[in-house]
């Protein structure tokens, strides 16, 4: 029995790995197919642009997300200043704002005849030709849109990591001659490195897999290239081959990142922990801290919301009818279901890898998270082909069980959002000393007891964060939902897309607000946990 338990834990990650990577292999198999003449056109005219713009975008977003996420997390965990208690939870609000919705609102605000320019022209009585704000329909605008909607990924994990860092360690560094800022960049940040990298990777993956925002800004990225090859040239094979090259590049980046990450051990000794103390800021310092925290919130949440509310008001709130409530219910049900399943899969996999360590699965585990980087449509195409095969060949059902079903859609969400779920659980496990496992096992705890009595209570914050991160992603997910949803089954994202595709932006505003509002539910729960975490972190350690 014990042997079979051990084998079960060893076998489980492989089973999940097979399910998660099967659609990728369908896509990658296209590399061994025929190469159409469209490749010559791509090489000659657009491929260099796709690659260089994508690299610029990723580098720009990484730098900004790192700066915003780590700085705000450090400020709210180490200083007490005007509005700190509000900023502590409010800084994650942009997580509810999909980049494509922010892109719509920013063009509405800052285009030459957008609301912001009109407002300034009217106020200062300037001529109609005067353009005050810079053009956002370029790669730099996209960098801003992605950075200010995705920085909470780094903020959340950094805040948690900074809160778990011992006060005495920082005091020792101060006594050894380091200033507050030096403690931040030479001690706190390197110690929080796994968390920072985890958050950054999530932000980068989100950037690479987005289509809505870059398409709206008409930027030539790798992702838009894949879509244009598919829909413009009607060449699915070449689009899948392009997607395959993107996947291989990302796979190499992942290998480099994981190899760097495993060189250092960050497990802390619980007995030496002593919780944070805060420095009270006054006057100018308090104002600076306030402004630094307000800026990302203003750009990433308040301004887009104001623009959406104005649009919704102009459309007389007509969207808020019965259809809207059904759509919202559909979206929320899918999000909760996917969130719980995905978080528990991540928990079981991380537990398996800790309880029954296996070199092979450790090396392959990055593939479990790769669903996040696949553009939703490409994942959906891989899954559709796979579902059709399973429905026809193996299940041999007269009705489709997976194709066009909620089961198939939830599976797609799980594959797509596993990285979100895993980042939180993995980070939680990194903080959990292995001596606890050893003690529990010597005291007679088997695998399930260890998981239920020790790991799950200690990881409840990570588990809950994990569910909420997945829910937030599912509410915003668009392309895979469009392809895989059951007939006549709409989500809020699908409704927004359909309006926006018809250039009915004012009508699209109402479902877009609903996406943000539904996305806010997990965020509000998360904020409650954030407020309580200053107390619970003492218990956790």
């Amino acid at each position: 029995m014990r042997f079979s338990n051990f084998s079960l834990w060893r076998f489980f990650p492989y089973l999940v790995l097979i399910v998660f990577t099967a659609p990728l292999f369908v896509v990658l198999a296209s590399l061994f197919g025929e190469y159409s003449e469209n490749w010559a056109h791509l090489f000659e005219y657009v491929l260099v642009d796709y690659v260089s713009t994508t690299v610029t975008l990723v580098v720009g977003v990484s730098v900004l997300v790192f700066l915003i996420g780590t700085t705000t997390a450090w400020i709210v965990t180490n200083y007490n200043f005007l509005g700190r208690n509000i900023f502590e939870w409010a800084l994650i609000l942009p997580l509810a704002m999909p980049p494509y919705v922010m892109a719509y609102t920013f063009t509405g605000l800052f285009d030459p005849y957008g609301d912001a320019n009109n407002l300034v022209r009217d106020f200062f009585q300037l001529s109609n030709e005067t353009v005050v704000f810079p053009n956002f329909r370029n790669v730099y605008g996209a960098i801003i849109v992605f950075s200010f909607t995705l920085y909470p990924y780094v903020y959340l994990v950094c805040r948690s990591a900074f809160l778990n860092q011992s006060k005495s360690m920082k005091e020792a560094a101060r006594i050894l001659g380091l200033s507050q800022i030096q403690v931040f960049y030479s001690l706190a940040l390197p110690i929080a490195r796994p968390a920072v990298i985890g958050g950054l990777v999530l932000a980068i993956m989100e950037t690479l897999s987005d289509f809505g925002a870059v398409d709206h800004f008409a930027i030539q990225t790798f992702t838009t290239g894949i879509f244009r090859t598919w829909y413009g040239m009607y060449d699915l094979g070449t689009a899948m081959q392009l997607a395959s090259f993107l996947l291989l590049t990302i796979g190499i980046l992942f290998l480099i990142e994981r190899s760097a990450r495993t060189r250092r051990n960050y497990t802390s000794n619980n007995s030496s922990f002593s919780p944070q103390s805060e420095l009270k800021l006054k006057g100018l310092n308090s104002l600076i801290a306030f402004s630094v925290c307000l800026l990302p919130l203003l750009i990433g949440f308040i301004l887009p919301i104001l623009e959406l509310v104005q649009w919704a008001y102009q459309s007389n709130l007509a969207f808020f009818n019965q259809k809207f409530f059904i759509t919202a219910f559909n979206t929320l049900s899918l999000a909760i279901c996917s969130g719980i399943i995905c978080a528990y899969i991540a928990l079981l996999i991380n537990f398996s890898m800790r309880f029954a360590p296996n070199r092979a699965i450790n090396k392959l585990s990055f593939l479990l998270s790769i669903g996040y980087v696949i553009p939703g449509l490409i994942l959906a195409v891989g899954l559709v082909q796979l579902y059709l095969y399973l429905d026809n060949s193996i299940l041999q059902s007269s009705k489709f069980f997976l194709t066009g079903s909620l089961v198939g859609l939830v599976l797609a969400y799980i594959i797509k959002t596993y990285a979100s779920a895993n980042s939180s659980i993995e980070s939680g496990y990194e903080r959990l000393s292995k001596s606890l496992d050893n003690s529990a096992r010597v005291l007679g705890a088997g695998s399930w007891t260890l998981l239920r009595k020790i790991h799950m209570p200690l990881l409840k914050t990570s588990l809950f964060t994990s569910i909420l991160l997945v829910m937030s992603d599912v509410v915003k997910e668009l392309p895979a939902t469009l392809i895989l949803r059951p007939f006549n089954f709409d989500t809020l994202a699908v409704s927004t897309y359909l309006y926006a595709a018809e250039e009915r932006m004012h009508q699209a505003a109402a479902p877009a607000i609903a996406i943000v509002v539904v996305g806010l539910i997990p965020i509000i729960l998360l904020t409650k946990m954030i407020r309580e975490s200053r107390v619970s972190v003492k218990n956790d350690n």
Binding site: S435, L436, S439, R441, A445
Partner: protein, 216 residues
């Protein structure tokens, strides 16, 4: 007739990518014995305890507890089934459980668990701490709780891995007398790992150098 609680034969172990830390080690401990294992840092004392507990797997050799082969050729009994206790320097108390729940953890399925816990709390003079959490008590108190938690399941062999090295001398002296009392009352077989010769002499009847246990 004496009974072998622990028998180790030709035990060797090396960490991945490094030299052998234990080489051809032999050790026997009889029931009720108190054995102190001495040696400098890095000589493999703690590793030996981890091997006995089943937290590491030996390269070669065998470990037998009360006549049952627990580590050896094609045999590896998991830690939860070895009936040994282990107290380590960092205590490793479960931070989300109260003192009482920590002590109950190893005997949670037993009917008389509350009686066992209250007895141990009394013997170790920590009854007033039973509802407190580990972060609410001192280092010395935490070490008492860790000891009570390991003793509660009545292990056949209790292993102590430098449990007092982080404590000051007066606290150590206080704990030495209390622990000696508990060990005598419960008739527990002890394997203490320490680099402190005096500590070994106070708490154990037989002191061994780990280097002397390894046959060249």
């Amino acid at each position: 007739m004496t009974t072998n609680v622990l028998k180790i034969e030709q035990l060797s172990y090396s960490y991945i990518g490094s030299n052998r830390v234990l080489d051809n080690l032999e050790l026997e401990i009889q029931a009720g014995e108190r054995v102190g294992l001495l040696g400098p840092s890095g000589c493999g004392k703690s590793t030996l305890l981890r091997l006995i507990a089943g937290l590491e797997k030996p390269d070669v050799g065998s470990i037998t507890i009360l006549g049952n082969l627990v580590s050896g050729h094609r045999a590896m009994v998991p830690p939860e089934n070895r009936k040994v206790g282990l107290v380590v320097q960092e205590k490793a108390l479960f931070p989300h459980m109260s003192v009482k729940d920590n002590i109950i953890f190893g005997i949670r399925k037993e009917k008389n668990k509350n009686k066992v816990v209250s007895d141990l709390l009394e013997i170790l003079k920590i009854t007033s701490l039973s509802e407190k959490f580990p972060h609410e008590i001192s280092g010395g108190e935490q070490q008492r709780v860790a000891l009570a938690r390991s003793i509660a399941p009545a292990p056949k062999l209790l292993m102590l891995d430098e449990p007092f090295s982080a404590l000051d001398q007066s606290l150590k002296n206080e704990l030495y007398s209390e622990i000696s009392k508990v060990i005598s009352e419960k008739q527990i077989t002890i394997l203490l790992v320490t680099h402190d010769v005096d500590e070994a002499k106070i708490l154990t009847d037989r002191q061994l150098e780990i280097a002397d246990l390894q046959k060249k």
